[in-house]
Amino acid sequence: MRDSVVMHEDRPDTAPGAGPVLELAGVRKTFDGFVAVERIDLQVAEGEFFTIVGPSGSGKTTLLRMLAGMEHPTEGDIIVRGRSVRHLPPNKRPTCLVFQSLALFPHRTVGENIEFPLKMRKVPPADRRVRALELMRMVRLPEGYYAKNVTKCSGGERQRVALARALAYDPEILLFDEPLSAIDYKLRKTLEKELKDLHKETGKTFIYITHSLEEAMVMSDRIGVMRGGRLVQVGTPEDIYTRPTDRFVCEFMGEVNVLPVVAADGAYVCAGLTGRFTPPPGGPQPPKGFIVVRPEFLHFVEDDDTTTENVIVGTIYNEYSLGSRMQYQVRVGDKTFIVEQSRRHACSGAPDRPVRIGWHARDAIFVAE
């Protein structure tokens, strides 16, 4: 047996958590002088669900394609379990990619699609069938689908077929290129949970890319935020949510209120707003930066409230029902703030009437310029 061929028998018996399964060392990729990925260093632990988030053009797809072997890094090395895979083609790598388009073979049945990697490895047909049916059970596809044409399957079923086919390859690392982006909201939520369950069940390392931080939050153990070919922040969903390191990461998370501020006598002021703002306690306090307040941390300030350090007066411009919560747009001068409150704390004020909104210093995030 050639040592380059992926076979689970020759895997070392490493316990989960014993060293990274994947290591990127200074990986860089340029296309005709255009830098798609800029010197990425990253370690992914065994069995981890790692998600790379970034807007389109941030280099996340290029990075994933390098991991799969469809692109080769201009510089740097990709190491899987201590062995460089940099020069290996996709069919010799212990990774398998689930494509955005899923790339199911339209001329094959569900069963034949799932058995494809086994057939390539010359597994006898009877064994292939047993394994395919096992995988179909795992991804919750009914047994009757075995002989069904893939082109006749629904979107969700096709997802499951693609997943089962990738698992049939038995990779060390499963790579996902936004496979859920074309799926409607409700089904996507179901599939996100199923994917997370499957991750637990198989114990394999998952590397997932998406442009939706919300999707990343639901599934991941750790998240890497990418921008302009760089990983700007890597951390747990909790880290990313509560301690974003820059303005881009904050804004990428969805609707947030960002105040550009400059220091003045121990506090901060913002051009166009009256009042002085207290930065969150602890941490450095550079002369310039941004105070970021999430909509759910902005609240309406009653007249007898003395604990809210930061208060602004504005007018309610519009309100939206988000189901269990209400969202308000509050205009202050030429700025618009977004306030989200549960219905219990809903604002009684009518539109176009002045309201006081504010936040506790501890709830805000301060990021340097």
Partner: protein, 269 residues
């Protein structure tokens, strides 16, 4: 019946009538030659006085005709094999891969189709002479290919354009070798395009006259013989062979369509 239904019915009737008329105009000449082949007389005169299949029997028995058919068949078969092989890879270069000379290639590959065939035939004849090749049906293979490969390339390229390159990447990623990718994914998916390309190649070669005229040398193909006999020495074997040829081509198409249908049904099952 309300007026709207009536109008719809009338429109349907008119469509059917028009379709019938067009088909009649197209197939009347073919029908006439079939009728001419079934006459008893030596000359083609309407109305046909006596019917017979005598000329069909004589055509089938003729050694000369047998040779013509063998030559035409060998020529068309050779052209089909080479044109499909060249056209398949040509189509991948045309529609699938991005390479530096691609735009130029896409234009140049089409030029022979626009070149008048008699001129192309003559040019090839001069060229074959210049390099000292002896003319036979084998040189005609080269001549036919010049014109037919671009057509086959285009026919297959249309199918390649609709082919998601991610499928090949996925197969490669799932452990297939380059050869396995070709055999398991690329070829089966492009198969309908390859099949129509082959059909085109065969029929275009089978019916080609201007290129064969200049480049077959002493050998003669069916269209060449038909032309020569019509110019001088008409015999009812001309319409007979013409009709036979048409029937053969129609059956080839029919068998092709049937094979495609059966394959589709098997896949759907």
């Amino acid at each position: 019946m309300n007026p709207q239904e009536q109008r719809l019915r009338r429109a349907r009737l008119m469509t059917a009538a028009w379709t019938g008329f067009v088909l009649l105009v197209i197939y009347l000449p073919v029908l006439c030659s079939a009728l001419a082949s079934l006459g008893k007389g030596r000359y083609f005169l309407f109305p046909i006085r006596g019917w017979s299949v005598d000329w069909w029997a004589r055509t089938l028995d003729s050694i000369e005709i047998g040779m013509l058919l063998r030559t035409s068949l060998a020529l068309a078969a050779a052209v089909t094999v080479v044109a499909v092989a060249a056209g398949f890879f040509g189509a991948l270069a045309f529609a699938r891969y991005d390479w530096s000379g691609r735009r130029l290639y896409q234009k140049i590959v089409l030029l022979p189709i626009f070149f008048p065939q008699p001129v192309l035939g003559l040019a090839l004849l001069l060229w074959f002479n210049a390099v000292g090749m002896e003319m036979s049906w084998r040189t005609a293979i080269v001549a036919h290919l010049v014109w037919i490969v671009p057509v086959v390339t285009l026919v297959i390229a249309i199918k390649v354009y609709g082919f998601d390159p991610a499928l090949e990447e996925a197969a490669f990623d799932l452990g297939a070798s380059r050869l396995q990718v070709l055999r398991e994914v690329t070829l089966p998916i492009l198969w309908p395009g390859i099949w129509s390309g082959a059909l085109f190649a065969f029929l275009l070669s089978w019916g080609n006259f201007p290129l064969s005229l200049y480049t077959t040398g002493a050998d003669s193909t069916v269209p060449e013989w038909l032309y020569a006999k019509m110019i001088a020495g008409y015999t009812p074997m001309v319409p007979t062979l013409g009709t036979m040829s048409t029937i053969a081509a129609a059956s080839a198409l029919g068998i092709g369509a049937l094979a495609a249908m059966l394959m589709k049904r098997r896949r759907a099952a």
